[in-house]
């Protein structure tokens, strides 16, 4: 009887090994990586984001001029005027240098609110989704109230109240992004909560905190992270919008939205120059969107 069962174990394992090993010889993250490497669109998007990030970090080294140094004579000049690669803006400042420096504030107002909202919203959403009941109703009804306002309106209202400036823009955008992040993390948490492995974990005597740390977070990470990345582009556009309306970053700081606003009038004089900040906003937000799509494809478990 003993040798019989050993035989069957051996037969069983050897067979299954040949079946699966041939196709799957790497772990989950290994496969995500291979899939990303094969996805040219996503790779391009990630490279663009990396380039912009590097430009932001090394702006002082890459800039050719002081971004706040204007010139009364050299306003709204074309490409290559007097050493200004991309020309000058409406007060004669070097556009290339301002775009470089502007990427810093744009990235900060794009990424930071989403990151903060991810932490706050993710926390609230997981609590609401895991514990359910009264806690869930409490959190979710408050979010419903915030949800009732369109995000643009909410951001405008908050900055209108708090006053303009980088900190207030970040604060306003964070508040704007908390509700959608709470909602998505609540949804995926309660979906995960309904799976048997949560009951398995509970029946092994683990406490709620341990279960959330080991079993819930690992399962909600991908969908919530992917959703958050897609918010970055919205955040960039909203921040630019706020600056454009004069509610965000204040002059003379360089920020793409603000630059777009200021160059608005130059559209009749030198349209090519006026288009640059807008183009940069478009490319950056598009890249974040493409990256989020690519991540979703790469992190899919079922493939």
């Amino acid at each position: 009887m003993v040798s019989d069962s050993e035989n069957y174990v051996a037969a069983n394992t050897s067979l299954t090994v040949t079946v699966t090993a041939a196709r799957r010889n790497q772990g989950y993250w290994g496969r995500v990586w291979t899939r990303l490497l094969r996805d040219w669109g996503t790779l391009a998007a990630i490279s663009i984001i990396a380039l912009i990030l590097l430009a932001a970090i090394f702006a002082p080294l890459l800039a050719t001029h002081d971004p706040t140094q204007g010139s009364v004579l050299g306003r709204l000049k074309g490409f290559g005027y007097n050493g200004h690669i991309l020309g000058t803006d409406e007060t004669g400042r070097d556009l290339y240098s301002r775009l470089l420096y502007g990427s810093r504030l744009t990235l900060i107002t794009g990424v930071l609110p989403v990151l903060l909202a991810l932490i706050i919203g993710g926390f609230l959403g997981v609590i609401a989704g895991y514990f359910g009941g009264l806690i869930n109703s409490l959190i979710m009804r408050v979010m419903d109230v915030l949800y009732a306002f369109p995000s643009v309106l909410l951001a405008i209202a908050i900055t209108g109240m708090l006053g303009s400036g980088v900190t207030n823009t970040i604060l306003a955008l964070t508040i704007t992004f908390v509700p959608p992040l709470v909602r998505i993390s609540e949804t995926v948490t309660s979906q995960t909560r309904a799976m048997d492995f949560i009951e398995v974990a509970r029946s092994s005597g683990a406490g709620s905190f341990t279960i959330i740390r080991f079993h819930v977070l690992s399962n909600i990470l991908a969908p919530v992270l992917i959703y958050a990345t897609s918010l970055i582009s919205i955040s960039i556009i909203l921040a630019a919008g706020l600056s454009f309306l004069g509610l965000g970053v204040t002059p003379p700081n360089a920020e793409w939205g603000l630059m777009l606003n200021n160059l608005r009038s130059a559209i009749w004089v030198n349209p090519a120059i006026a288009a640059f900040p807008g183009l940069m906003i478009f490319i950056t937000s598009m890249s974040f969107n493409l990256m989020s799509d690519g991540l979703r494809r790469a992190m899919d478990l079922k493939l």
């Binding site: 772990g27 029946s203 683990a206 079993h215 690992s218």
Partner: protein, 355 residues
């Protein structure tokens, strides 16, 4: 040899002297259905109602019943995944909960294997870690828990070197259920609740997993509560069987006794509903008509009376108690007025008389 422990346990002389490993007394679990604007309770699902039974050390107790019979809820209440509304669970002489052994301690003694092998494993966790998680939750260092998980994997017939770092979706259904069994074994439990543990598997794989369960039972001195809707499997693996209908126990007894000589009309109907396996001698009449009723607002008195061909007025008035009657094996009990001489059912005296 491996089979001896199971055989010993089914020997009544040995079993009777032992204290039951688990006893469930008057367990009740009702789920309110809330609805409407203010979330008022609209109806109550009487999932488990006044259920009592014992599991003896080393035996396998089978629970059979159709959907809505409360068999899975019973297991989940024992495992404290649902809080019971009433009744108590006694493990090895000690009451679980207030004044008795703590829930965390119960987890070390009782473990559960679920039907859906995929849902029961965290898809984002390598299976080695899934197995080790329970021990880690009880304070075993990660390294040690993982080493133990590897041993358990080979115990359930999976090579740890190949499988420990795999994810559950890379495994077949049979392999996943082996992992779930290894996971349940990690805390060295004495009782394992198997909730439809082989039901989702293909027949040839089901046989492999049943073989494994029998091997492990002998080797590790386990006791099983085996829940299934598959009457053949329950007959094969169980020493005793408990038949549930709409949240109540209608019959309990040694498995051969119940299968060969069913007393409750529901048990009889259920057993003769099984396909005949012989194309020359096919089933000609369905023993029951209609679907099992919903456990929301079940019938008064005996819950089976709405589908029972022997139902009389008495059946609607009072709920029959689960009793071992004089003409039956002492360990065989049934909840039916027909078998109770004092019930006033017109067939009661006749069934009692012969033998």
């Amino acid at each position: 040899m491996t089979g001896t422990n199971a055989n010993m346990a089914s020997d009544p002389a040995i079993v009777e002297t032992q204290r039951p490993l688990l006893s469930v007394e008057n367990l009740r679990k009702h789920f309110p259905i809330k609805g409407g604007l203010f979330g008022r309770t609209q109806a109550v699902v009487q999932a488990v109602d006044d259920v009592s039974f014992e599991i003896r050390k080393g035996e396998t107790l089978g629970i059979v019943g159709e959907s809505g019979s409360g068999k899975s809820t019973t297991a989940r209440v024992i495992m404290h995944l649902f809080e019971a509304d009433a009744g108590k669970v006694v493990f090895d002489g000690e009451t679980v909960g207030r004044g008795g052994i703590a829930y965390r301690e119960l987890c070390l003694n009782v473990q559960m294997v679920f039907q859906d092998s995929y849902s029961a494993l965290n898809p984002r966790m390598p299976i080695g870690l899934s197995i080790a998680f329970g021990s880690m939750a009880h304070g075993v260092p990660r390294k040690e828990a993982l080493d133990k998980a590897a041993i358990l994997l080979s115990k359930v017939g999976l090579d740890p070197a190949t499988f420990a770092n795999r994810y559950s979706h890379e495994l077949s259904g049979g392999q996943r259920q082996r992992v779930n069994i290894a996971r349940a074994l990690a805390l060295k439990p004495r009782l394992i609740l198997l909730d439809e543990a082989v039901s989702a598997l293909d027949k040839s794989i089901e046989a492999q997993v049943l073989d494994l369960l029998l091997d492990l039972k002998g080797e590790l001195d386990l006791t099983y509560l085996f829940i299934s809707h598959d009457l053949n499997v329950v007959r094969y693996i169980s020493d005793r069987v408990l038949v549930m209908y709409l949240g109540k126990v209608v019959e309990v007894g040694p498995v051969e006794d119940v299968y060969e000589n069913p007393r409750h009309p529901y048990t009889r109907a259920l057993l003769s509903s099984m396909p005949s396996m012989d194309p020359r001698n096919r089933t000609m009449e369905a023993p029951l008509s209609g679907d099992p009723p919903n456990p929301i607002n079940p019938p008064s008195g005996c819950r089976f009376r709405t589908r029972c061909r022997f139902a009389e007025t008495v059946c609607g008035k009072s709920s029959p108690a689960l009793t071992a009657h004089s003409d039956m094996n002492a360990r065989h009990a049934v909840a039916c007025h027909m078998h109770d001489p004092g019930s006033g059912h017109s067939l009661a005296s006749q069934t009692e008389a012969p033998e």
